[in-house]
Symmetry: C2
Subunit: 264 residues, 2 copies
């Protein structure tokens, strides 16, 4: 899965002079077409569009629409979490108005904050779902998520198991589980044998393909591995068309994961 984190300062030279929102649109449209043959899904990171103001949200809308036209499922990385009526408004925004198929959600406020998103995906009935933050990949995640008894990541995993309903091979509630702490990943997989994992932390954040293995399910699959910066900004260390560099980086990541035994 390729994350769309547009950072204008890292765009190729020919996109540097124009307004940032327009450059972000053009850059990301190029990325979508480039990675489409090798990506299972795309994950726009809402913050990088919000940063560009209302125009940034126009770009966000256009990219979600373009990804859908290419047949790529869209996981809106919004990490929202709020009381019921507010969560319902966020769900309506990202799933219905902007048209993402799935979203990431923060469980700090408990089931109330997660359920409205799941209900919206069930109403839309388009195969989407919700990925709940369980064990994230950032440096300070352990200090918080693993510091209690029971650990917070266990509570979050239990929430996923309680709220998810089977939809095909997996539950419609999934878990965000980083590649950077494999032992936690193995533990969470034990608690969630039937959940799809969204796995950040591979690539620029330092996790390798081997660190994905403990997260796999009994069939050796069940993990959507995300790479954002290492794919988007591959052109920084490869001369020529940025799209070609990104396509090669996406292919390289796919081959790296397959060679390590990550199945699909």
């Amino acid at each position: 899965m390729v994350g769309l984190d547009p950072v204008p300062a890292r765009f190729p030279e020919h996109l540097r002079g124009m307004p940032e929102a327009r450059a972000a649109l053009e850059f990301c449209l190029g990325i979508l077409e480039a990675v489409e043959p090798h990506a299972a899904a795309v994950k726009p990171q809402a913050a990088f569009f919000e940063r560009l103001g209302p125009e940034g949200m126009e770009v966000y809308a256009a990219l979600i629409s373009a990804a859908r036209d290419l047949g790529l499922p869209v996981i809106a990385d919004v990490k929202r979490g709020d009381i019921g009526p507010v969560a319902a408004a966020y769900a309506e925004a990202h799933l219905r108005h902007y048209g993402a198929s799935s979203v990431t959600v923060n469980p700090y406020m408990g089931a109330d904050a997660v359920l409205p998103f799941l209900e919206e995906t069930r109403r839309l009935d388009a195969g989407g779902g919700v990925f709940v933050l369980v064990a994230t990949s950032n440096p300070s995640s352990g200090a918080f998520q693993g510091a209690t008894d029971p650990p917070l990541h266990d509570l979050a995993a239990r929430l996923v198991a309680d709220l998810g309903q089977r939809d095909g091979d997996y539950l419609d509630a999934g878990a965000v589980v980083g590649a950077t702490r494999p032992s936690v990943g193995r533990r969470v997989r034990g608690l969630l044998p039937d959940a799809l994992f969204l796995c950040p932390g591979y690539g620029a954040q330092g996790g390798g393909a081997g660190e994905i293995l403990p997260l796999l399910d009994a069939r050796g699959a069940g993990v959507l591995v995300n790479s954002s910066r290492a794919v988007l900004y591959a052109h920084e260390s490869a001369p020529g068309d940025y799209r070609r560099a990104s396509r090669e980086a996406a292919l390289g990541a796919k081959e790296d994961l397959l060679a390590a035994g990550v199945g699909y």
Copy 2:
């Protein structure tokens, strides 16, 4: 503090025919002018603007600007929480681009997810800060935030104490502490004697003025009590101009809080 949660279906009759974004702008501008004499701050809830698409974000921008012109501090209720570079993009969006003075932040991912917001408010140096979710007011909050040893709300409170720096009477990191569980509020106040609390749950969510008392600091103050729906939609049970109904509801809430002993 008055929360801005625009729900078009609850707007007064004369605002029902027009496009939702335009109606939300007009409705909220009326609310701002109506409550200004009695409110210490306003708290736009980002979800209700996101729900209206890119145009909703134009409304969000216009309202933050109008509130500042009226001298009302703006706490953007965004509850964002993400890895460092993403948190920095959200901080730039809401504090610099949209111009809120403060934001609410989710601590699930630890210090990484909170610090970029604090750093942005310190750079802007406009008296704003960050309110970290500690003990929220929703029904399922206890099942998650109080279910571990040590309780999650203690960890979040410790994060506030660790990251906050004194700025005048209070730290620049505050805590979101609901009015609906006073015993938890008392405990969190014990951990955070010098923090400003943002207190939801008063009014439509069921908390009374008496339930704020355990949250007060040693001076009998230090709590920003929020009311959203009970002020915004006061017209539903009071005939005539909606602005007059909202102004009276804001005044009534202020008097209720002062009579109970909530100081400022």
